[in-house]
Symmetry: C2
Subunit: 343 residues, 2 copies
């Protein structure tokens, strides 16, 4: 099997090439080398080893930067962006530069020394999601920021560092992000032609075909996209159309926690806890404030979702040069395997 498939949203082509094929078992990973609990700065009791907290969900009587919390948010100790200063965007001949003004926060997802978010209870994962929403909403208020990226690096190969303690990251950037723009442009083009949301259409076709859906719980599905770039690439999508992750209701938060837990548990069991990157694709914020009316279409044509990208294959020259991805495993096979895995 050697088939080209086009991503319906941003128009990226991928190639499914099973002649280099692997069975799911071939992707099993050796466990990462990890830091022992007693050296972990993210555990309960080690609050003094991180910068002072920005926010925490904690027991009513507990004190900031002490124990008795469920989720804790601290600034990164190696921030890519810092909150102080102004943007100072300027040219130098034909080149443009600006200061790295922004925010970079670490969301510590549990006080216990646990490596994977899927090992937490549904209620604890719901607390993590509530914290994500709270921090995105707070950072949205800073006029200097254009986008907030929420992501998670799990495992050494995915860039997690050697401390194995479940956490996610939020970065607020002063510029628009290229990949976000591409997705908005693709979704807008589709909407202009069809007057329908491309993501809603995807969900409908996936549920009808039922070949790539892994989990279907209440308002959410997890699905391997038709044009998956990577083996076991999985998207979590809300059946209710919304461009805003922050618009999740309380009951949706709990459902999303269930889908996340089930999907990541299945992935961990099927491929032995693979390294992965998880990225929230959300609409740019401040859309209502800046140009009234201008962003209205985004509310109809964009649809927030979460992309989980296991890092089981290597990206080489062809991919870098072409923006074309080679996937040795058809998503239909990966979905079947994951569906049957314990979760």
């Amino acid at each position: 099997m050697r088939e080209l498939r086009k991503d319906p949203i941003i128009g990226r082509w991928i190639i499914i090439s099973t002649e280099r094929a692997k069975r799911p078992e071939d992707f099993k990973q050796p466990p990462d080398a990890t830091t022992h609990e007693k050296h972990c700065p993210f555990c309960s009791g080690k609050e003094a080893e991180t910068p002072p907290e920005v926010f925490a969900m904690r027991k009513p009587s507990s004190k900031p930067n002490g124990p008795d919390w469920d989720v804790r948010v601290v600034p990164s100790i190696a921030p890519l962006f810092k909150a102080e200063g102004d943007l100072n965007r300027h040219g130098n001949g034909m080149y443009d530069k600006m200061n790295g003004v922004g925010a970079h926060e670490i969301i510590i997802e549990t006080p216990q020394h646990i490596g994977g978010i899927y090992e937490l209870s549904v209620e604890q994962i719901a607390n993590v999601i509530r914290t994500w929403i709270y921090r995105i909403t707070e950072l949205e208020k800073d006029e200097r920021f254009k986008y907030i990226l929420l992501f998670k690096n799990h495992g050494l190969i995915a860039g997690a560092g050697i401390v194995r303690h479940a956490r996610s990251q939020i970065i607020a950037t002063p510029v628009n992000l290229k990949r976000v723009k591409e997705e908005l442009v693709g979704a807008k083009l589709y909407y202009e032609y069809k007057e329908r949301c491309v993501f809603c259409d995807m969900i409908k076709q996936e549920l009808d075909e039922n070949k790539r859906v892994v989990v279907d719980i209440d308002g959410f599905i997890s699905v391997m996209p038709f044009a998956s770039r990577f083996p076991f690439e999985t998207w979590i999508m809300s059946k209710r159309h919304s461009c805003d992750f922050e618009s999740l209701t309380e009951s949706e938060i709990v459902d999303l926690a269930k889908v996340l837990k089930t999907t990541l548990t299945k992935l961990s069991n099927a491929v032995h806890d693979p390294p992965y990157n998880l990225v929230l694709h959300n609409a740019p914020f401040r859309r209502k404030k800046r140009k009234p009316g201008y962003w209205r279409t985004i509310e109809e044509d964009f649809h927030w979702h979460i992309e989980i990208m296991p890092r089981l294959t290597r990206v080489a020259g062809f991919e870098w040069g072409s923006g074309f991805y080679i996937n040795p495993m058809p998503p239909e096979d990966a979905a079947k395997f994951l569906k049957e895995a314990e979760g």
Copy 2:
């Protein structure tokens, strides 16, 4: 130092973040595990172990698929695309697919068991370049192909496989490539506004500033771009404006061979033979045949060049989600270091 820089061609932002900084020495690589010469299918005398050759530069009296060659081109044994069949592009609901029709050739750059192209003589490298041009020109004649990508994976991490024998790859694809399109669009925008080629302007500013130029030989420079994505990212550019790599003259071919050899030798000495991907960025072919006049601007606004991307850092969730790259090393420092390295 934490500075955002914008690529003037495709508008990609990168961040120079020296707080995670590394000195050049920190990037030194352990040598790859490699296959011994006697198991190498690319060496002279082992011609029967590859598919029959598509082309070879060989001694006048020698026979195809026998010894006595300088450069040899064979089809890949694990091709991403195959020449047989038609495209059969079709939809499936909202999704598009087509057959993987194309070509995938391996250019064996030397009959000896040598790992790096920079270890070859200038004359031998010139033969490799002549072969690249010949094969691109030949494949261009197939009406089914839209683009030809020439690239090189050097070292295990860059996807070279375990056989350490200098070679490059050519892939002809039946679809347009996303990254190529982005570059064409960016260069066109600049040209429309300035009526000048963005690459020519870049070369001029780089030669004036002289902070990021590594090698300057006759008609070519190698330079670390202002918005380098990776430590030691280096572009080789022709001072003569041309959108066509195939338009190189005989004396330019020899000069390009010198620049390639010097640049890659310096890189190897400075960072201990790092893994890298090398990609030729060339204008799409068939531009004159398909729509007369339509592509004329590409001849003025696009400028072929070679991008060399050492694989010394890891791409994590933030980069995947944003299209934003984090570079721990300012290109000015990397250029200074490489300039002083033996080459």
